[in-house]
């Protein structure tokens, strides 16, 4: 191929769809191009989400084989140029990596990847988050949980996982609102909607809602940025819990 344009190949490379001489050339270019490295890193991270989504039960007998084989293998020494993460290095990693409660999210990341971003700087908040983390995990793994995925009328969709009187709500790909507006979540019970919080202007919004009854519905509406006491606009999403 004569018209080798490395900048157009980041996606191809991230999907491991490049081979031969072209791959070699692209990798050589990567060494010199910081912007390409950044884009490749991001797109690779995206591509590996496709791996996570492909999870399938691994044959049970593999575990013992792998563990036994690993026990007999010597680990490689760290390369001098690539530092293994240590306590020191970890202090430079993004903040969410260091948050104990973010990790707690082991389970809750099931439904709630965003938990890692909880602000936990203060001890109290960390404790609150830990309590919540446990509760969120309980919902996410509850054997009788209800999982619902419904479209938002203005684009994107919302996911609800509910169990035991609590619900996790999360949006994906919803339209971003102007600065003076926000999405507000409601518990719809009879003719008295109760606010479950002003969530934000768009993207991946999340909420943990307590005190939900099986007969309730959740609703999402567009409100002024400060929120409203009752939904003023029409609901862009409505989902029955039961």
């Amino acid at each position: 191929m004569t018209d080798f344009d490395p900048h157009s190949l980041t996606g191809v490379y991230a999907l491991d769809a490049l081979d031969g001489a072209e791959k070699t050339r692209f990798e050589a270019h990567l060494h010199e191009c910081q912007a390409c490295r950044a884009e490749v890193a991001e797109l690779t991270e995206t591509a590996t989400r496709l791996a996570g989504a492909a999870a399938a039960p691994v044959p049970a007998e593999l575990r013992a084989r792998v563990l036994a084989a690993a026990a007999e293998k010597r680990q490689q020494s760290p390369l001098p140029v690539v530092t293994a993460i240590s306590a020191r290095d970890r202090s430079r990693t993004p903040r969410w990596y260091r948050q104990p409660a973010a990790a707690a999210a082991a389970l809750l990341l099931v439904v709630s990847g965003g938990l890692g971003a909880l602000a936990l700087d203060e001890h109290q908040r960390a404790e609150d988050a830990e309590t919540m983390t446990t509760r969120v995990a309980a919902i996410a793994t509850h054997p009788d949980r209800v999982e619902l995925d419904v479209p938002v009328s203005s684009g994107g969709h919302g996911i609800v996982v509910a169990a035991d009187g609590s619900a996790l709500f999360r949006t994906s790909g919803i339209e971003t609102l102007p600065a003076d507006q926000a999405y507000q979540l409601w518990i719809l019970r009879g003719d008295k909607p109760q606010s479950a919080g002003v969530l934000g202007r768009g993207g991946e919004l999340e909420a943990f809602v307590d005190g939900v009854r099986p007969t309730d519905a959740l609703g999402l509406s567009v409100e002024p940025a400060a929120g409203s006491k009752r939904p003023t606009g029409s609901l862009v999403l409505r989902v029955e819990i039961a």
Binding site: A54, L67, V82, A104, L199
Partner: protein, 212 residues
């Protein structure tokens, strides 16, 4: 009623994490550990951490390898190789370049691709095109086995792509084809496939909320 709002944020090691059941935590602590933390401990030769790491990632590693290779026996073999490599090369994982989950999945995918490409050197075109038809069949199986939120989320985001973006991305990633092969299969120019793959991933990135 107590309502707590959660800020939106990154979701990177969602997939393997979701595989952990509370009962696997033993004393209750280990379920709180991230894949990154585990890999750091593995890098220090921590065997029990490797067991925990195995439980967190084995299904997704096997899943993606199986997607690409299709053959269960071969997939198992490559999965074993990859997981042992994780043990051996954990010392070389660099958290500044991405998450542990990404590192592991990248390794798994590349190993599967290597296997496909070396095996394909001896296969003919017809057989390879036939493999394409199996993508759907395996999808259905996978769908029955695992249909948790991460999958729904990724699937939904894939649905948001244009047909050409989606086909380009999935034929490459799950089908193991090079972009030249994808161009041939789809009957579109090379340049088009390149941009569709990049645009598709960017759209996917935004939909999934992957942050740099």
């Amino acid at each position: 009623m107590a309502v707590l709002e959660l800020a939106s944020g990154r979701i990177s090691d969602m997939a393997p994490s979701r595989r952990v059941r509370p009962s696997e935590g033993g004393d209750g602590d280990e379920t709180n550990v991230t894949v990154d933390d585990l890999l750091t401990r593995v890098a220090c030769g921590d065997g029990p951490a490797f067991e925990l790491l195995y439980d967190r990632i084995a299904n997704s590693v096997y899943g993606v390898i199986r997607r690409v290779l299709r053959d269960p026996a071969q997939s198992e073999e490559v999965t074993q190789e990859v997981l042992i490599e994780v043990w051996r090369f954990a010392t070389r994982f660099d958290a500044e370049r991405g998450s542990a989950t990404t590192w592991i999945h990248t390794m798994a995918h590349r190993r599967a691709i290597d296997r496909v490409r070396s095996a394909q050197a001896s296969h003919d075109r017809d057989e390879r095109v036939a493999r394409r038809d199996q993508v759907t069949a395996y999808d259905e199986v996978a769908e029955r086995v695992e249909m948790r939120l991460e999958q729904q989320h990724v699937r939904r985001c894939l649905e948001d792509l244009t047909d050409l973006q989606r086909e380009s991305v999935t034929l490459a990633y799950y089908g193991g084809y090079t972009y030249r092969e994808v161009a041939e299969l789809l009957g579109v120019p090379l340049g088009t496939v390149k941009t569709r793959m990049r645009d598709g991933l960017i759209r996917l990135r935004d939909c999934l909320g992957v942050t740099p």
